[in-house]
Symmetry: C2
């Protein structure tokens, strides 16, 4: 669209010109071409397994990070096979492009329809597992978008080896491999180049810790799809089924404590707290969970530490649960409005009207009745794959999959109509 890029532009800008050109072709490719490219990329990941694992071993050997983080960065044959299978699964999904979302005829005879088209160019900055880059590439290929990747410097060699393999695969399928680009080195200045590529990148998707997300949101004027925090609440209403409540909160908190959909705060009605809370504390303690509570919670479980304002505002991402005993649903809704991050909240109750009040009054992306907050996930939604989760309200909210990475345009069919004065 007439971007006049100076000839002495930086390496990322140069790369993005090639991405734009390749993406323009990809946008007009047919479904079979895109699916063939996905399958070829999967095949290439398997074919280049030795090179990818060797690059990863070198990353791990040099990475100065915690053992837990190293484990997340480590690739092995089964993790690589899962990445390849992920790409093949994306190939099985229906085409997100060319969908007619709406059509109508105006009184003057003009026919108007709204049709899905790719978003454009996605910029992805991630510091998470190397599979994030492969998943993102698969989702962008399917949805017709160009992509520029910038992985964490600790796993740069792994990301580069994966990227190289996928490009080889895409090339054998006949599509232009430039459509999936990667920052040319692990130089930190390339992050700056990506953040400043206004007009060349249409949306940024950062994946990683809170400080990375906040950095991207603060430094870039390119729109950002992200969740800065997942401070999720589970509220147990007085009309809850106790067995169900125990099962759900154990899963919502402890299934995986490090994911954004994990419950961080339990809100529980005072009418049932003295009966139910001790059971929950027993259940979760057995799973290794620690607790902090408000005054009322500590009257029931005296050896619980006190939860401060700051604790209720903390996304633990760990085996820690903040607990607050609530007067009623109104106090619970106020607590969520004050401390929540707009991600996912659940209510457990057998009372349908209370459940609907909760669902309608909570301003979060996902609101759940009688199930675990950990269901906030593209795969669990049936999206097949996700590139991230958005807590913003513009464009996509909640899990972002291939159907969220599209825009639309209007097609108007006339027979010579002109607009009246």
């Amino acid at each position: 669209m007439g971007h006049s890029i100076a000839s002495q532009c930086n390496p990322v800008e140069q790369l993005l010109q090639r991405v734009r050109q390749a993406a323009s072709q990809l946008a007009h490719s047919d479904l079979k071409q895109r699916n063939d490219a996905l399958k070829a990329a999967a095949k290439a990941l398997r074919q280049y397994e030795p090179e990818i694992l060797a690059a990863n071993a070198q990353d791990i050997a040099e990475a100065k990070v915690s053992d837990a983080f190293k484990d997340r960065l480590t690739l092995n044959p089964s993790r690589l096979e899962a990445m390849a299978k992920g790409l093949e699964a994306i190939a099985e999904l229906p085409d997100p492009l060319g969908k007619i979302q709406a059509k109508w005829v105006r009184p003057n005879g003009l026919k108007i329809r709204r049709v899905t088209v790719p978003l454009g160019i996605i910029g992805m900055i991630y510091e998470s597992r190397p599979n994030v880059g492969a998943d993102a590439a698969g989702i962008c290929l399917k949805s017709g978008n160009g992509l520029i990747l910038r992985g964490g410097s600790e796993s740069y060699r792994s990301a580069q080896a994966i990227h190289k393999a996928m490009q080889q695969g895409i090339q054998t399928s006949g599509l232009n491999p430039d459509v999936i680009a990667m920052a040319p080195s692990s130089d930190r200045e390339h992050v700056t180049h990506i953040l400043h590529a206004v007009g060349q990148i249409d949306v940024l998707i950062p994946r990683g810790g809170k400080s990375l997300i906040e950095f991207v949101q603060r430094e870039s004027r390119i729109p950002v799809l992200a969740h800065a925090a997942g401070l999720c609440h589970t509220y147990i209403h007085k009309a809850a089924d106790f067995d169900m409540a125990r099962k759900i909160i154990a899963n919502a908190k402890m299934r995986r404590t490090g994911i954004c959909g994990a419950t961080e705060t339990l809100l529980i009605d005072q009418e049932i707290a003295s009966q139910l809370l001790p059971k929950i504390v027993k259940d979760l303690s057995a799973l290794g969970c620690r607790f902090l509570g408000n005054d009322q919670a500590r009257q029931i479980i005296p050896d619980m530490k006190i939860a401060t304002e700051k604790d209720f505002a903390t996304e633990w991402l760990d085996a820690v649960l903040s607990v607050a005993v609530m007067k009623d649903i109104h106090q619970a809704l106020e607590h969520i409005a004050h401390y929540g991050s707009g991600h996912t909240e659940a209510i457990i109750t057998e009372d349908e009207s209370i459940a609907m009040q909760f669902l309608n009054s909570t301003e979060s992306a996902v609101v759940i009745w009688n199930a675990s907050t950990q269901f906030c996930d593209g795969g669990e939604f049936g999206f097949g794959a996700e590139i991230g989760i958005s807590t913003g309200r513009l464009h996509a909210r909640g899990p972002v999959g291939i159907d969220q990475l599209v825009s639309y345009h209007y097609e108007i069919f006339g027979k010579g109509q002109v607009r009246p004065l």
Copy 2:
């Protein structure tokens, strides 16, 4: 959502805290309450006519702007009545909130549905006619969004009088009038406050000249819905119906030259140019249009001025037409990709396969076959009212009406499901 605003915040931040609270109530109001508020606001505009016209007269008397601009700022009884009628028309539109956009059941029995909710708080900075503020307020009321308005300093008194009247109307209907706020003075620093209200304003909609839009896009990290430019093309293909082509280009260029959907550049196939172009030049010259052309166009119309690179990149917003004779559709598509602003493009042809090629290959928000580009308008689309037009690809594209000013959330209905390990 837990925004911790310091107690010594600026006046706009203070105002926005009240907007947020009022918007939270508005989001959960029913359709009748919102429609009643719209009708009451319309009534109040009529009731306060003397005050509004007096404030406007004072603005006009002091405004140091061109006569054309003064005319756009001037209110009179019929313009005010049109504003009131506009609000009543919005009250007649169907509810954009609570719409179930999709629903499905997962294999584990979880029922998921995606339901429309308000976007949140809209910030509107405008330097255009005073009615823009009233239209925006009406659209936000209907779609459940809070609004903060900042009109141009030349019409600050008019905007303030309109705002005051509308708030009175909203109050009599029983809704909290804080939901529609206005910057507390015409101080330029309030613009800065609005642009910096990250977390308090969800989307900015600037309306006005290109420099205002670009200023807002450059200075704010809040997402912006806007069109910075409307450099629209009409391409006359060799298989066009000549009479239709003449009628359409006359309307597309000359119906109104100052709107963003006006055609700025005519592309015409060389095979028909020598026959058709002289007729078009004659038609449009009679309407007061001037022309600039590429070399081939000037071979046909020798007294046409030469069109430079810069001319083809210029949105005239005036009775001026750039003309380029094209080899074929490929060259036309390249010209549009290079010079276009992503707004609206039209093709005139009787050849359906060429038309579909054009519609599929143009990356603009609106693509039109055999009709005037001036149809790119919320009213003409049947949206009832528009708050602006977006040339971005994120969230809303093309005309932005009540159905574009919503977000969605997911509601999940379970029976105790937990996520498998």
